[in-house]
Subunit: 106 residues, 4 copies
């Protein structure tokens, strides 16, 4: 499991002492911004100019997200499935097909 | 695979037309902020007050991240593994153990 | 007026062509993250370690915010005053004094 | 001065006890995301659909930014001017005119 690799990395450094959920949430947000920075001043249809950098930043978002899930004993696949069930209700196919409006505006 | 559930959700709504990588990066960042908002004005040692909300927001970060990976044909486990190899070099155990400094300050 | 200095900077470079509001909003968010990064893994009571960097990042948030206001012919002081009026209603003194709860939880 | 209105708002509620710089930085980032959310899934050339909401969110970014400056005894106009001087050096007119590249790529 990939979470075991992630935990080995932080446990080898004894870093769980720093990994409270608030600072993990900050870190997820900071890495998401570094990912977004790759698209600053670019048009939406422009291709990816630096795929290696994008892979690094997307991986950082995922690594911190997995750490938070692990801290709280959450199973990644389960929380995604539960959220998809909720999204299915918020965005019924007949109303949201070909429509990018928020559920509050549907 | 969980990515199949995610893709079914967006394909049922024909939403790939909106899911360019720039807007996915914006969406990852927005969901990361909604996750962080749960910790605003809270101390780092305070417990999680609303675990259901946290699960929702963390799942949203993951769902958009998986969509971006899927758009670009990136394998989640592979990009995480590659990043951990890089992090291992940036943060050698002997220098970074019990140390929360950035690699630029080590 | 400081906005004149800011506009001179961007007009000297003919940069208004890039400064649509969506990309300015992205830029405000990215600079806010660079500001937040200075506090990553630090305790809330720890002092500021690099005040020059903080001044730079806070100034960047303000510069892009002023540019957006200027693009949309918004007066900075007016929108702040109008928001304070709204906040006064959302957070009545008697309910919110010494209380850091959100208005939705008051 | 507008900062006096802002400080009166927080002092009436005795809120400086919560306004450490780390949580202010988080709040600036969260409000910047709420501003950015108004542009999610919109094209860059699309107009602003809800100018009142935009004014509110931009004002929130500014209010928290002014609070942080006030906490640290920073003068807003001075830090902006100092940053523009730095930006002038990083982005010489002859190299950056009509060019949206980062200074690291110029």
């Amino acid at each position: 499991m990939i979470i075991d690799d992630i935990n080995r990395f932080r446990d080898d450094r004894n870093w769980r002492q720093f990994h409270n959920e608030k600072d993990l949430a900050i870190s997820i947000s900071l890495e998401a911004s570094e990912l977004l920075e790759l698209f600053q001043w670019k048009s939406a249809s422009e291709g990816i100019s630096d795929i290696e950098k994008l892979k690094d930043e997307l991986a950082d978002v995922l690594i911190y997200s997995y750490m938070m899930a692990d801290n709280l004993n959450l199973d990644i696949d389960s929380i995604i499935k539960e959220k998809l069930v909720k999204n299915n209700k918020k965005y019924p196919v007949e109303k949201s097909k070909n429509n990018n409006k928020k559920y509050t505006e549907l």
